[in-house]
Symmetry: C2
Subunit: 154 residues, 2 copies
DNA sequence: ATATATAAGATATATTTAGTCTTATATCGA
DNA sequence: TCGATATAAGACTAAATATATCTTATATAT
């Protein structure tokens, strides 16, 4: 009952992009290095983020990824579910037909509540806020590399 | 990010026992049949429940399992965590040392909140309440055979 | 045209989950 | 005491999933 590595990587990727702001192109290689994600794995994750409309992928010699939306509009939930699908803590939440009477079942109700709460909490978190402070899953300062200055920090 | 089958089975097992009340001995075989859990798998799960102090296992020809505590005192959280260990939705929740500055990290904070909420919700649910109504994961009516008589039936 | 970057899917590896099997031990009742 | 029956415990197998890499194709700037 925990987030997969792919989900975690997706968050890191968007977090890194969010620090550069909407529309800024960042190469896959840079993201991979800064977020400590295997490049080819990142490619797969990026494709899922692109399909979900969160990022745009540009091919070619000067290609890379960039956010399609303002970071404040991107929720943690959206990114996670773009990678791992809709969250459902228990089978009977995602597939009510797997129970004979899920409408009545008290266990089912608890799972539904928990699932709803979890999704709500993840939905409240947006990437403008998340990117504003230090993030434990990124290398300390993205601007050490030169071509960007998120907020004049360091 | 979902409950394992073992966790689900553990809930079914305790739910079935809860319907018989604290202290009533029920054979593994009966539980396995009624909750649709493979008997040997149930044995492993029961051992974990016993280690957690939730049930007692009796060996021998008239052996079986029984609740050590009143169902109202047993929470969904306790049963689940007896089986799958303490819930942690993300690595950095369970192992803060895996981040460089988890105290500051905003992502970390969201996960912490979500994790806490989830555990709280599961803790609010007790098995007296859960067993009171129909449960979608058990066969309809366990009392169909009247008062339980483990040693009497074949 | 070439160099470089990503696309997409196939493949390989590792880990976790799920379930089974075997041998040992406990208890009851003849 | 012995045999029947139940669970104990852990080894073992199988399946599913997660993780990562590899290969070939395609896109773009120069």
């Amino acid at each position: 009952m925990r987030l997969t590595r792919a989900g975690e990587y997706g968050i890191r990727c968007v977090l890194h992009l969010a620090r550069h702001g909407k529309g800024t192109l960042v190469s896959r290689k840079e993201i991979a290095v800064r977020t400590d994600v295997p490049p080819h794995f990142l490619a797969k994750i990026a494709q899922q983020l692109a399909r979900a409309g969160i990022i745009e992928i540009l091919q070619g010699a000067t290609g890379g990824y960039r956010l399609l939306t303002d970071p404040s509009k991107i929720t943690l939930l959206a990114v996670i579910e773009a990678i791992i699908g809709e969250i459902s803590l228990n089978d009977c939440v995602g597939r009510p037909e797997s129970c004979h009477n899920s409408a009545l079942c008290t266990v089912h109700r608890v799972w539904n509540k928990a699932n709803q709460q979890l999704r709500a909490t993840l939905q409240e978190a947006n990437f403008a806020t998340l990117a504003a402070e230090d993030a434990c899953c990124l290398t300390p300062f993205p601007e050490a590399d030169g071509h960007n200055q998120p907020s004049g920090k360091k």
